[in-house]
Amino acid sequence: MKIGLIRGAIQWLSFFVLTYGGRVGIHLGSALPCFACPFVPGCGGYCYLMGLQGYIGFGLALGPAQGKEILVALGWLGVFILLVLLLGKAWCGFICPFGLIQDWLTFIRNKLGLRERYLSPQGKKYLGVVKYVFLGLIVFLPPLIVAKILPPDLYLPFCNICPGKLILPLFAGETRYLAVNLDNAVTMWLSLALIVVAAVTLVGAFFKDRFYCLFCPFLALIHVLRPLTALRLVKEPTSCVGCGVCRRNCQMDVAILDQDQAQVQTIECVDCLRCLTACPMSGTLKYKFLSLTLFAASRWTRLRLRPKP
C-alpha cells in the first residue's frame, strides 16, 4: 500500500517534470533511459533513444564527425550508463511517463470491471523479439541514412514509429502527429504507421497491463546492465512458499517470479513492485539500493479492500 502510494507519487511528479519541466527551465539532459519524448514542446529532458539515432549516436557515425562530437556522444553514453546503473528498471516503473499513461488505462479498465487479457507464454516470446527489431532500427538505419543509402525522411527511424511521439505531445497541446504527413511518400507511410502503432498500443495497453513495455528497447538495454545496477529487486528463495501471488499480481506476468530460484528479475520486469507489495512472506522480495533495503515484502501488510460499513 505504502509502496504503491510512493510509486504513484513519483510517477506523477516525473510525468510533470518530463512533460512540462522545460517551461520552468528544467532540462535533465539527452540521455534519459525512459520515454521522455523530445517531441513534447517544453519537455524536461530527452529520451536517449532519440539521441542514439541522432546527433549524439549512430547518426554521426559517418560524415563530417569531428573529434569533439564523438566525445560528446561518448559523454552522453556515459551518462546513460550511469543513470541505468543507478536506478535500473526503476526508470520503467517509477519514472517513464509512457508507463504512467499505460497504468491509467489499466486503472480505467479495472474501474469498468473488464478483465485483463493475458498473452500466452509463447506469444510473449515472439512479441518480445520486436524490441530487438527496434534496436536494430536504432543501430543500423542512421548510418545508412547518413551514407545517403536511405532517404533523409527516415531520419530518427525509431521515433517515427514510437507511439510516444504521437501520444505524449498531446499533453503539451501538440496535435500535429495525429495527422498524416503528405509531404512525400516516405512521410505519408511513416505517419500512417505511427497512427496505427499508437492505436494498437492504446488498445493493447487497455486490455493488457503495460502492453507496450513488451516492445520497449530500453528494457533490453537496461537488462544488459542488470547484474550491475545499484537499485534492484531481489528474492530470497528460502522463504518463498510458491503461492504465486507475485506472478498473478505482476504487470508484466513474469512467469518465473514464483519459481524456486533467486534471480527472478527477467528482461520483462519493469520494477512496478506489485509482486513485492503482494508477497505475504516477510523479506522474501526486497527492493534494494546496493545493500540498503528500501522496501521489503511483509506478511503484516493490510489488504486493500475494506468492507463497506
Binding site: 528460502t238 518463498c240 501471488v245 506478511r299 479492500l305
Partner: protein, 412 residues
C-alpha cells in the same frame, strides 16, 4: 428386524451425549483458566459447530459446510451463504464403532460421519469438498454407505500438483464449477459487486486474524486461546467475527519465553485441546503454526490486480490452490519455507510436529521435514497421538524435555 437399528440409534444417542459433555468440559476448562477474559465469551459461545442450524440462525443466512480449506470462502460468502468448515475433534464421535470403519481411519472424518448420523439438523446442509487426502475423497461415499439420509457432497477435483500450469488451469475450472453450483443453490448469478463485498469481508477477517497472530507472536495470547478464537471463525459471519476479534486488546506481559516453538502437523479441532494444553503445561510458547485448523484457514496474499469478475476468480483460485500448504500435494517441497521464513520474525528454535493417528499425509511429511529442519538448526519433536487422554504423561515428558533442550543450558 427393527431391533439392530434401534440399538444403533441408542449407541448414537450415547455418543452424542458424550460428545456434548466433552464440549462442555473443554468450554469449562477455558473458563477456568487464569488467562480467561470476559471478552473471550463471544468466541466460546460460537466455537461449537455440532448444530449447524444454530450457526445459520446466528449468521442469518443458510450454511454451506466445507471440508478442508481449498474452497474459496469469498465465493461462498458472495453467494449469500455462511461457510462452515466441519471437522470432528471429539473423542466420543471418533471412537464410535457403529459403522465398522478401519482401525486407522482419519479421526476427523470418522468422527464427522458419526456426528452427521446423530445431528438431524445437519443433514440437509450441503457439503462442498475439495478432494484432498484419500479420506476426504472417500467421505461422500462413506457417508452414502453409512448414513440413512446422507448429505449432498459436491466435490471439487483438486489437482494434486499446484505448481503445474495445467493443474492451475484445471483448478480454475473447478472454481467456476463451484460458482455455478452456488448460483444454482442461490437461484441467481454471483455478481462482481457480490464478490468484491465478500472479499472485503474476508479481508477484514484476515486483518483481525493478523492482529491475533501478532499478539501470539509477542506472547500475549496463548496457544489454546489462539486456536479457540481462530477456530471459532466459522461460527458467525466473517464480518461479525472480525469485529469481535478486532475489539480484543492485548498487553505486553513482559515475559520472554526461552522455549519458543512453531506448531506444525495435523489439525487440532474443538473440543480436543489435549496437545495445546500439554504444550502450555510443559512451558512451551507457541509463536506461530501452520495448522489447517488455525493459521491456514486464512491463506495470505489476497490481490486484486485485475478486479473484473474473471480476474477475481482467477486470483481466488490461485490463492486457495497454489498458496495452500496441504501435505496431500505432490509438490509441497516449499512448505518448509513457511517455517524457515517465519523463524527470524518469530524467534522460535524448535518445531513441534503433531501427527494424528490415521493421518498419513502428515505422517509422511514429518519424515520429510525432520532432517531438513534439523539441518537448519531447528530442533524437531514429532508427536503421534489421537484424541484419547491415556498418553498425556508420555507426551508431557517429551514436551518438557524438548523445552529443556530448547533453553539450551545443560541440566546441571
Amino acid at each position: 428386524m427393527t431391533e439392530p437399528l434401534d440399538r444403533l440409534s441408542r449407541l448414537l444417542l450415547k455418543a452424542k451425549a458424550k460428545a456434548l459433555a466433552e464440549e462442555n468440559e473443554t468450554l469449562a476448562w477455558f473458563r477456568r483458566r487464569p488467562d480467561y477474559r470476559p471478552e473471550f465469551e463471544y468466541f466460546l459461545n460460537i466455537v461449537g459447530q455440532g448444530d449447524l442450524a444454530a450457526i445459520a440462525d446466528r449468521a442469518g443466512r443458510p450454511v454451506i459446510a466445507l471440508l478442508c480449506n481449498q474452497s474459496p470462502l469469498e465465493l461462498i460468502v458472495a453467494a449469500g451463504f455462511q461457510p462452515v468448515k466441519i471437522a470432528s475433534g471429539s473423542l466420543a464421535e471418533t471412537s464410535f464403532s457403529g459403522f465398522g470403519w478401519p482401525a486407522l481411519t482419519c479421526p476427523v472424518v470418522k468422527g464427522l460421519l458419526t456426528r452427521l448420523a446423530f445431528k438431524s439438523s445437519s443433514r440437509s446442509v450441503p457439503i462442498v469438498a475439495p478432494a484432498t487426502c484419500d479420506w476426504v475423497a472417500k467421505f461422500g461415499e462413506m457417508a452414502r454407505f453409512a448414513l440413512p439420509a446422507p448429505p449432498s457432497v459436491a466435490y471439487l477435483d483438486l489437482p494434486r500438483f499446484k505448481q503445474d500450469p495445467f493443474s492451475q488451469k484445471k483448478w480454475l475450472s473447478e472454481v467456476y464449477k463451484l460458482k455455478n453450483y452456488l448460483e444454482d443453490l442461490r437461484g441467481g448469478p454471483i455478481t462482481r459487486a457480490n464478490l468484491l463485498a465478500a472479499i472485503a469481508d474476508l479481508n477484514a477477517a484476515y486483518a483481525a486474524f493478523l492482529s491475533l497472530k501478532a499478539a501470539r507472536l509477542k506472547g500475549q495470547l496463548s496457544l489454546s486461546w489462539f486456536l479457540l478464537i481462530v477456530g471459532s471463525f466459522f461460527g458467525d459471519t466473517p464480518r461479525r467475527w472480525a469485529e469481535n476479534a478486532r475489539r480484543l486488546t492485548f498487553k505486553s506481559n513482559g515475559s520472554n519465553s526461552l522455549a519458543k516453538v512453531f506448531l506444525a502437523g495435523s489439525p487440532i479441532f474443538f473440543p480436543n485441546f489435549k496437545l495445546p494444553a500439554l504444550m502450555e503445561e510443559a512451558g512451551l510458547t507457541t509463536v506461530a503454526d501452520d495448522l489447517c485448523s488455525s493459521e491456514r484457514i486464512f491463506p495470505p496474499g489476497q490481490v486484486l490486480e485485475d478486479s473484473s469478475l474473471p480476474g477475481l476468480l482467477a486470483s481466488l483460485a490461485g490463492r486457495y490452490h497454489q498458496g495452500c500448504l496441504c501435505p496431500t500435494f505432490g509438490d509441497n517441497d516449499r512448505r518448509i519455507n513457511n517455517i524457515l521464513g517465519q523463524k527470524n520474525e518469530a524467534g522460535f528454535t524448535g518445531v513441534v510436529f503433531t501427527v494424528l493417528k490415521g493421518c498419513h499425509p502428515y505422517d509422511l511429511e514429518s519424515s520429510l521435514l525432520e532432517p531438513a529442519l534439523k539441518e537448519r538448526n531447528l530442533r524437531f519433536l514429532r508427536l503421534e497421538t489421537d484424541y484419547a487422554a491415556e498418553d498425556r504423561q508420555n507426551l508431557l515428558t517429551r514436551l518438557e524435555a524438548f523445552g529443556q533442550s530448547l533453553k539450551g543450558e545443560p541440566g546441571f
